[in-house]
Amino acid sequence: DAGITQSPRHKVTETGTPVTLRCHQTENHRYMYWYRQDPGHGLRLIHYSYGVKDTDKGEVSDGYSVSRSKTEDFLLTLESATSSQTSVYFCAISEGQLMDGYTFGSGTRLTVV
């Protein structure tokens, strides 16, 4: 969707290196989310933000950190990438927290070798 952009779209990195994924929105939505998607697991919530500098953990937050210094940007950082973090990462935005208003980005495919 035009209102949400993820970068990069693809990345290959080595084990132990830091990686930062970026989610940028132009909708001025309050809530932003990071999910990962793996075969057989659907989408799992990593972290989410309910405002600038306000973030909370999801169900699979270990090994990940996030930051939101501006309304439009939500960064996901893997401090020291591991092969188990090879996945497709999706960012989502919403005005409220009910699940009818989520807009997802196109995803970032991350491979850790």
């Binding site: 989408l43 009910l98 699940m99 989520y102």
Partner: protein, 110 residues
């Protein structure tokens, strides 16, 4: 947490009506039921949401019985472009409590 159970996969043919049922036995009083659709290499997109009885929009219908322990997504007259993964979500006011699950992979044949 309200967990959902859906069939792993379903097959159908163009022009048919497809019904995908989702079980959510421990749904909470303030939980809504939401369905999303995901095409390959894309993020999920919202289809329909309901709380009880029946909801219909231009894309689908959602049937919810009185006990709300299950729900059925109905896609009328499907086409090849409806081939996708469909997720049933149950949740209320907190994103951390919403579980996606593995979804139902729907394949439509000519």
């Amino acid at each position: 947490l309200a967990k959902t159970t859906q069939p792993i996969s379903m097959d159908s043919y163009e022009g048919q009506e497809v019904n995908i049922t989702c079980s959510h036995n421990n749904i909470a009083t303030n939980d809504y039921i939401t369905w999303y659709q995901q095409f390959p290499s894309q993020g999920p997109r919202f289809i329909i949401q309901g709380y009880k009885t029946k909801v219909t929009n231009e894309v689908a219908s959602l049937f919810i019985p009185a006990d709300r322990k299950s729900s059925t997504l109905s896609l009328p007259r499907v086409s090849l472009s409806d081939t996708a993964v469909y997720y049933c979500l149950v949740g209320g006011s907190s994103a951390s409590k919403i579980i996606f699950g593995s979804g139902t992979r729907l394949s439509i044949r000519p």
